[in-house]
């Protein structure tokens, strides 16, 4: 028996066109499969973990995404030159760019994802809405075309009725998204949304849809092979968000009963088939308070939160992606998988100050201790000494736990968050610890407005713990001072940099 599974004889080397935790995650599966990995990096990432993990690594360009991770031609050129047979794009950056899929085809390289054609059909959010409607899947009321001008936007917004949501046509991840409550706010929101969309996706177009008040955000993970098989692998509830970006995801969704689940799966299958979609994908839905579901969009890539599904099903979705990309059939056992199998939950650890409106908190990670133990998985590319800059998404890590019940998964999450230690940058950990104790969350009755309610009630470190910490610092300062006096008496200079640094930090007078 060979070292590789049979389907993997196609690949000997794969280029991972991404950075951070997702690059590390993809590299790990490649290792499991005995495939060599080519990493690419920007000026800012020359020493990043994914570069050090890979077998080969090549420079893309400057730190900005435009100069590096968005440079399709350069990425394909490096793949060809290094002899990689395939490119895995991860999420974000070029992952949903059909021109990468096309450039791959031209260069004789396999793109791990849907075809350029399917991507075009679903990638434009407006086009995806047309497809969903055509197969009888309800969509959020709104426009089906991008707005060409402010005037056009105003007309559509008035037709739909305020409040409305502006969204980037090429978008995802909350970028280029703005809530608008009246005509007066429209111009500013349009400018900001277009500008953000342009920076993030290289496409400034935006469209408008009705804003549902406090909906739940539920998505279905599916896989589709080139032989007509589409399998749904369960839903994820992603309702805990800030600025339209997800913070916590879990499966099964507390809001989804077996009947709704089969309706969501059915809608997912119909949209995937209508678009001729292959490989891994996700379809996002909004649930309103009456339990109606509306198609929102297709994410034509691996999602940030895919490990939730992996922990609940035991599958490796990157492995399945690679398998489908070789043209192999999905295993028939997937079709008959009883869902939900187990509960799983993910907390996204961002370098953001969750006590201060989640503003970015760049800096250097001075100490890091990630949680361990049964039922805990950490997807991370962080290390002590790592610089968290302003160039990219500030996602430090994803903490995922599973359990035989939701309660068990949450208990493990609580334990894991307790163990997590990150020094030097503010993170979302305090927020997650709050959520895991929150009665509303524990009941499962939360919606997309949840995080904004925490913002109002954010509490600082307890007085008791602050006093303990201050006392400890006093003791350490005192010891340092005593040691310094003792050294001076002995006439020993004391040359350690740590000592010098400590003294500088303490600003002795």
């Amino acid at each position: 028996m060979g070292r590789q599974p049979e389907f993997m004889t196609t690949f000997k080397k794969i280029l991972v066109a991404n950075r951070g935790e997702i690059a590390a995650r993809i590299i790990r599966t490649c290792r499991d499969l005995g495939v060599k990995v080519v990493a690419v990096y920007s000026d800012a990432d020359r020493t990043s973990l994914h570069v050090r993990m890979a077998d080969e690594a090549y420079h893309l360009g400057g730190a900005t995404p435009q100069d590096s991770y968005l440079d399709v031609d350069r990425i394909v050129e490096l793949a060809a030159r290094s002899g990689a047979e395939a490119i895995h794009p991860g999420y974000g950056f070029v992952s949903e760019n059909p021109s990468l899929a096309e450039a791959c085809t031209r260069a004789g390289i396999i793109f791990v994802g849907p075809t350029a054609d399917a991507m075009r059909k679903v990638g434009e959010k407006t086009g995806a809405r047309v497809i969903a409607e055509s197969v009888g899947v309800a969509i959020v009321p709104g426009a089906v075309a991008s707005a060409g001008s402010l005037g056009e936007l105003k007309t559509s917004a008035r037709e739909i009725g305020y409040p409305v949501l502006l969204k980037a046509s090429a978008g995802g991840g909350g970028k280029g998204m703005r809530r608008v409550d009246s005509d007066a706010e429209l111009a500013d929101a349009f400018r900001a949304a277009s500008s953000e969309a342009g920076t993030a996706f290289g496409d400034r177009s935006v469209y408008v849809e009705k804003l549902l008040e406090s909906p739940r955000h539920v998505e279905v993970q599916f896989l589709a092979d080139n032989h007509g098989t589409v399998v749904c692998l369960g839903e994820r509830d992603c309702s805990i968000q800030r600025r339209h970006q997800k913070l916590i995801e879990e499966t099964p969704s507390p809001a989804v009963d077996p009947e709704l689940r089969s309706a969501l799966f059915d809608a997912t299958e119909r949209v995937a088939r209508a678009a001729g979609y292959t490989n891994a994908g996700t379809i996002e839905f909004l649930l309103d308070r009456q339990g109606n579901h509306y198609f929102l969009e297709v994410n034509a890539r691996l999602q940030v939160e895919h490990p939730v599904t992996e922990e609940a099903t035991g599958l490796d979705l990157v492995r399945e992606q690679l398998k489908v990309a070789t043209g192999a059939r999905l295993d028939s056992s997937l079709k008959n998988m009883q869902l939900p199998r187990r509960a799983a939950i993910e907390c996204r650890i961002y370098a953001e100050d969750s006590r201060n409106r989640f503003i970015p908190s760049p800096g250097v990670v001075r100490a890091l201790e990630e949680p361990r133990g049964h039922g805990v998985r950490v997807e991370s590319a962080s290390y002590p000494g790592m610089m968290v800059g302003l160039d990219y998404d500030p996602l430090l890590a994803k903490l995922v736990t599973w359990g035989t019940s939701r309660e068990e998964a949450i208990a493990r999450m609580r334990r894991a968050l307790q163990e997590y230690l990150i020094l030097g940058v503010k993170t979302t950990i305090p927020f997650h610890r709050f959520v895991m104790e929150d009665a509303e969350f524990l009941r499962g009755s939360y919606d997309t407005g949840f995080a904004s309610r925490w913002l109002a009630s954010a509490e600082a470190l307890s007085d008791e713990l602050a006093v303990t910490a201050a006392a400890a610092v006093g003791v350490l300062a005192w010891r340092e001072r005593s040691a310094r006096i003792a050294r001076r008496r002995e006439g020993a200079g004391g040359s350690g940099w740590g000592q010098a640094a400590r003294q500088a930090a303490l600003r002795w007078r």
């Binding site: 953000e196 503003i359 800096g363 100490a367 300062a477 005192w478 930090a505 303490l506 600003r507």
Partner: protein, 177 residues
Amino acid sequence: MKYLVRLDERSFLVSVVEADGRLTVEVDGKSVEIEVEEAGLGRYALFADGRSHDLAVSWVPGSAALAIGGDTFALSVEEWRAGRAMTGAASTAVEGRQVIRAPMPGKVVRVDVAEGERVEKGQRLAVLEAMKMENDVMAPNAGCVQEVRVAAGDVVEHGRTLIVLEKDCITADGEGG
């Protein structure tokens, strides 16, 4: 020995006295029973009031920090002498003068106001981009733009002065509307 210890915006006066080989620690005048054992590089085991804690401290100049209980704080320590006034967080509003500082590090996308311009409370003064999100910087009060210290394209640190507002416009004559 007394120390002024700051954890983010909170200040504590910590007194440490050695007597008979034992340390007596007081925080803001209240006695604290505490033992601190070094566990490794920058890591400590704390024993206080029958509870144990994991403490991490970085003493790197300019960015000293402390982590405890799942949270991380900017840290500063100064020796404190009697008679020295404690200084709190920098005052931002003095006699109608309002200093607008960068709420986060980032890049100035645009500045919407010019010197001498009157602004209303809640009016957007500038847009700051950080990690691909655009954030509006608003006027906390109505006033007159006295100084604009940044321009579009500038990269700013957290806390950097962006704009200075005065309650009233000050003209060359000294007074104004």
